[in-house]
């Protein structure tokens, strides 16, 4: 019954591998990462979309290259990248012990974080989100402390504070960061209802048992609100569905 889990873990492993491919010495590429992965990470070879967006706002560059990359990712899988590829999403996934129902109004906070990130970059000409980002705390601040470039100072402690708070949130609520705060999740979520990768439901088979709801790490009701902007398309509900009513499909055939 856990047929998608192995595939997902493999894909998540590939996401981490791509994120940390710098150990091969290939250097920074032109590839925008389809998730939240800090480009300041010593081993990063890809560009963080949120970090790049802030810099482009500061520079006053109309972000066509960034937009093209985001639309391709959004059209292909939407938040499927959160469920299947993003390294920070993987950390959320690995700590997803308490699958509580989602707090729907609070789930819109990630759009506020996204808007706040852009507004702060424009107004302050600074990458404020990067200085608070828990992915950067984990992937840049801590490695640079080990490498001797970072020191235990106020910015470092702020990073550790946001990382600790986020980890605590993840332990208390499954995929806490993905549900409520991730700006990249908000961005990809805009494409969720249109993306080629989507959940499909065979209503004739659905018994309404709600086992899928109990399995969903995002706290959704997959049989009622498939492809909601919060759905990370991880397929946990598909694995849990005994009558095979839910299916993860990759096709343009869908209904709004």
């Amino acid at each position: 019954m856990r047929r998608l889990l192995v595939a997902r873990r493999t894909s998540q492993g590939l996401g981490i591998l791509l994120g940390l491919f710098g150990f091969t010495g290939v250097g920074m590429t032109h590839l925008v990462f389809p998730g939240l992965h800090c480009y300041a990470c010593p081993l990063a070879v890809t560009i963080c979309p949120i970090g790049l967006l802030q810099n482009l706002v500061i520079y006053g560059t109309v972000p066509y290259f960034w937009l093209g990359a985001i639309v391709i990712y959004g059209l292909a899988a939407g938040r499927g990248f959160c469920g299947w590829f993003c390294p920070f999403g993987t950390l959320n996934d690995l700590l997803a012990f308490r699958k509580r129902p989602i707090h729907r109004p609070l789930s819109y906070a990630k759009f506020a974080v996204l808007a706040g990130t852009v507004i702060a970059a424009w107004a302050l000409a600074d990458t404020i989100f990067c200085k608070l980002c828990p992915a950067a705390s984990l992937e840049a601040s801590l490695p640079y402390l080990v490498l001797g470039l970072a020191r235990v100072n106020r910015p470092f402690l702020i990073h550790m504070g946001t990382l600790a708070a986020t980890l605590a949130g993840m332990l208390l609520v499954a995929r806490f960061w993905c549900r409520y705060l991730c700006p990249m999740g908000g961005l990809l979520g805009l494409f969720n209802r249109a993306s080629l990768l989507h959940l499909s439901l065979d209503r004739a088979r659905c018994t309404g048992c709600r086992v899928c709801s109990g399995a969903c790490p995002m706290g959704l009701e997959p049989h009622e609100e498939k492809d909601d902007h919060n759905c990370v398309k991880c397929g946990a509900c598909v694995d849990a569905c005994a009558p095979d009513a839910l299916r993860l499909a990759f096709s343009p055939k869908r209904r709004p």
């Binding site: 710098g22 250097g27 920074m28 590429t29 032109h30 925008v32 480009y39 300041a40 010593p42 081993l43 890809t46 560009i47 970090g51 790049l52 810099n55 482009l56 706002v57 500061i58 520079y59 006053g60 560059t61 109309v62 972000p63 066509y64 290259f65 960034w66 937009l67 093209g68 990359a69 639309v71 391709i72 959004g74 059209l75 424009w122 000409a125 600074d126 990458t127 990067c130 200085k131 950067a136 840049a140 601040s141 490695p143 640079y144 490498l147 001797g148 470039l149 970072a150 020191r151 100072n153 106020r154 910015p155 470092f156 702020i158 494409f191 249109a194 343009p252 055939k253 869908r254 709004p256």
Partner: protein, 343 residues
């Protein structure tokens, strides 16, 4: 053909026409170089001199040629060298021009505005344009002479015309997707939405690459500014050497050459540059130069301005010993140790 199918085809044709706006030319006869001063003003004593650094950024996909910057109105203030030049300014690159402002001894103290004139050309296919632009530099001529206050880096202002034109393709993209969404909702037809999103994706990437934005993105991601990602706090204040530092610098008994590697968008780099300038003022033993890592990545690599696989700025290199100092935190003490003057 049913009326519905005909309508769908008309809409798809409209989408294609709207998509053509993605290729709308956005430049021509507009300034492509942006100039800014990392210091809020240049403060200098009567009869003295002060360094002037002018950062420039090419915000276009076109190459700027034969850039010359010279003084046009200065009340006896002179520039050394008299003309700052760059043969070429590649697309989407940033650079900096450095010179020394000399103040005549008979000039009355007070605030002035020194005007610099920048002239350059650029070509779009067969059409070439000559641009002339005047840059005002606030200069505070004082009895005593002090270092200028570094200002926070500011987002360069886009000239209004080129700015609006640059946004046009984005408006076209929004229109495309908007129409696709409306059709999806009203007619339950997904094809126009997928067509619109595909056009926006391909058009966005193509337009971005044609404007060199992929290189810009790689440049942003490959150079690590210590204050930009929160490794340390940005410093925007003017460095003031302590009395102890001045006496230690006076005891420096060998010549030391320093290179300060910076990036124009780095928040703490002006502080590191100003600190080295202050130390060089305190002793003739220190010589220095500033190098833009965006413009000279090979030199940065040669001097190992790299930590954890990333080129890091600000970085101060002591040339004779091949040592590198990163960041600005506690810089006075660390730089003194770097010079062999600290415990």
């Amino acid at each position: 053909m049913t009326q519905g199918r005909l309508g769908e085809r008309v809409v798809l044709l409209a989408l294609l026409v709207a998509a053509s706006s993605l290729a709308f030319p956005s430049f021509g006869q507009d300034a492509i170089l942006r100039f800014s001063l990392p210091m809020a003003e240049v403060a200098v004593a009567v009869g003295g001199q002060a360094s002037l650094r002018l950062t420039l950024e090419n915000v276009s996909p076109y190459e700027g040629d034969d850039l010359e910057v010279s003084l046009v109105a200065a009340e006896g203030i002179s520039l050394d060298p008299e003309v700052l030049t760059r043969k070429k300014v590649p697309p989407f690159t940033a650079d900096a021009l450095s010179a020394t402002l000399r103040i005549p001894a008979d000039l009355a103290p007070g605030r002035r505005e020194v005007l610099l004139e920048a002239a350059y050309t650029y070509c779009i296919e067969e059409s070439c344009f000559q641009i002339m632009e005047t840059i005002a530099v606030p200069v505070d001529v004082r009895e005593g002479g002090m270092a200028g206050l570094p200002a926070a880096p500011t987002s360069p202002a886009v000239s209004s015309t080129s700015g609006l034109l640059s946004w046009l393709p984005l408006l076209g993209a929004a229109l495309l997707v908007g129409v696709g969404l409306v059709l999806w909702r009203l007619r339950r037809s997904t094809a126009p939405l997928y067509a619109a999103l595909s056009l926006v994706a391909v058009g966005g990437l193509a337009l971005g690459v044609s404007r060199g934005q992929h290189e810009q993105a790689q440049g942003i991601a490959s150079v690590l500014c210590t204050s930009c990602v929160g490794i340390e706090e940005a410093r925007h204040d003017a460095p003031r050497l302590s009395a102890g530092a001045l006496s230690r610098l006076a005891s420096l008994d060998r010549n030391v050459e320093l290179i300060v590697f910076y990036a124009p968008w780095c928040h703490s780099c002006p502080y590191a540059e100003a600190m080295v300038e202050e130390m060089a003022k305190a002793t003739p033993r220190i010589s220095y130069r500033f190098v833009n890592v965006d413009g000279e990545p090979e030199l940065a690599r040669a001097h190992k301005v790299i930590a954890g696989g990333r080129t890091v700025v600000p970085a101060i290199v002591r040339v004779d010993m091949g040592l590198v100092l990163f960041g600005v935190e506690n810089l006075e003490a660390r730089l003194l140790r770097f010079l062999g003057l600290g415990s």
